[in-house]
Subunit: 189 residues, 2 copies
Amino acid sequence: MSETSRVRVYLGCSLDGCIAGPDNDLSFLMEQAPEPDGEPGPDAGLGFAEFLEQVGALLMGRNTYEVPLKYDAWHYGDRPVLVATHRELPPAPQGGTAWAVQGDIVQLIAQAKEAAGDKDVYLDGGDLVRQALDAGLVDAICLTFLPLILGRGIRLWEGLQSRTDLEFDPPVVHGGRMVQVTARVKRRG
Amino acid sequence: MSETSRVRVYLGCSLDGCIAGPDNDLSFLMEQAPEPDGEPGPDAGLGFAEFLEQVGALLMGRNTYEVPLKYDAWHYGDRPVLVATHRELPPAPQGGTAWAVQGDIVQLIAQAKEAAGDKDVYLDGGDLVRQALDAGLVDAICLTFLPLILGRGIRLWEGLQSRTDLEFDPPVVHGGRMVQVTARVKRRG
């Protein structure tokens, strides 16, 4: 485990902070960033490939893990994907590597950093992101705002308890339609 | 009332969409964009003056109206401010003009457009913004994200019911610290 390994969040959401619609419906993501095969992949010119190059391991919740399984898709290459779950895990598609992990958020992130070596941890999924923010364990966050206000849906921030101070990088437009906001977490003296 | 008068939202919020902390606490706004007199004015290099030049009238809720009153501040010059309230209205400070209006959101916005003449309506306050979004009555929205995730607070989007499709303008950084995202509402054919 490297001391320089950072915990990074990389998420797409509506301007009102929805990472999914009601009942985990992701159709608003798919219509905004479709891939040629109609699959809701994260790499739609959003710098995901560059981001992923710095990632040594992923940590995600069970629901997040199951999204690519539905499409027999896998965007993470041979990077280990740690899935927080107490249930048996379906194997990752396309020769990917995934294993189940358990523990509180501190233990989960320690395991992910161990797996990431000297690279970063890509933390994904609303529940784990909120837990890690509340525990002060997130180092950087990249939000890609899709050009809509969804209204009803699953909000990334709902249930968050703690304040996190940030420093923004200059925002960018992607594909002429989306706005990407990147921030580093500011540590207090 | 002009056909070209637009309804525009101009708000500051945390990255997690809080327009106030618990109990309407605005200290996180004040600490981010303080004015020399310590007053939480909206004009902190955020293009507010340029925005206001295009505004003919304001429409806001009672709680929003009472914020500047606490500081004996008034940022709206001689523009009429319509306040949605059934109670008696304290006079606007500094010679400002404010009057009480009643009705549903359609009626309120019609009154504000009437007052705005050929200029725009500045719609302010979480409740009215949500009602106007749900009714399809907002034309443009400008959010200035302050560099923090507040955690607990009053979220702009909470309770929203309807989807609104947007087109983003290029985002900008203000004061090296804040990110401003401007969007026009996309009307469906």
